[in-house]
Amino acid sequence: AAREVRHPTGPSYKQKVSVATMRTKIQEVFGTMLSADQTYQSEHTSTWTKDLADEIKAKMREMALPRYKFMVQVVIGEQRGEGVR
């Protein structure tokens, strides 16, 4: 039987997310929430990591992209010369 209806398997061009916009928004969050001369403090870093992830997710939701799901992961590590990959 011939398929007469075409089902879209992805978002239409207009509804597609722009990686560049996402990157700019994330940089904005870094600008407001991080500073170059911050020192590592174990007690409040765990809240800080969560706040960053939630703030970035909120910015993504502001973009109001239809039908998109978001996963934001934030990792903050202490710089002590260890190798990290």
């Binding site: 174990s42 870093t45 997710k57 799901k69 978001f70 996963m71 934030v74 590590g77 002590r80 990959r85």
Partner: protein
């Protein structure tokens, strides 16, 4: 139309199943190894590949995102957080720390 009982078992995110696959993938490549700067990048790729292969083999109607971080042990602290915007009925997330926590601080 799909049978309701069948669809709820086959399209649910089962945390234990996912954790088992992830831990197997990690142990396969990292068991009894020491940190090696030259090999770490390769291990990360292998672990992610093994995870994805194991997860796709479950044949569930899911997309998967696998992230792997390897850090050398030298006493430095690290924190990680995940924030997700998805359908809480069907979607889920598993975070695995390996080797497991021997001392639980804070």
């Amino acid at each position: 139309m799909v049978d309701d009982l069948q669809s709820s078992e086959e399209s649910a995110f089962v945390g234990e199943q996912v954790e088992r696959i992830a831990i197997q993938s990690i142990e396969l490549h990292l068991k009894d190894r020491q940190y090696e700067e030259g090999s770490v990048a390769g291990w990360i790729d292998l672990i992610c590949d093994s995870c994805i292969q194991g997860l796709s083999a479950l044949n569930k109607p899911f997309k998967y995102v696998v992230s792997c971080l390897i850090m050398q042990k030298n006493g430095a602290g690290i924190h990680s957080a995940v924030s997700c915007h998805w359908d809480t009925v069907t979607d889920g997330c598993s975070v695995i720390r390996w080797p497991g926590d021997k001392h639980k601080d804070h």
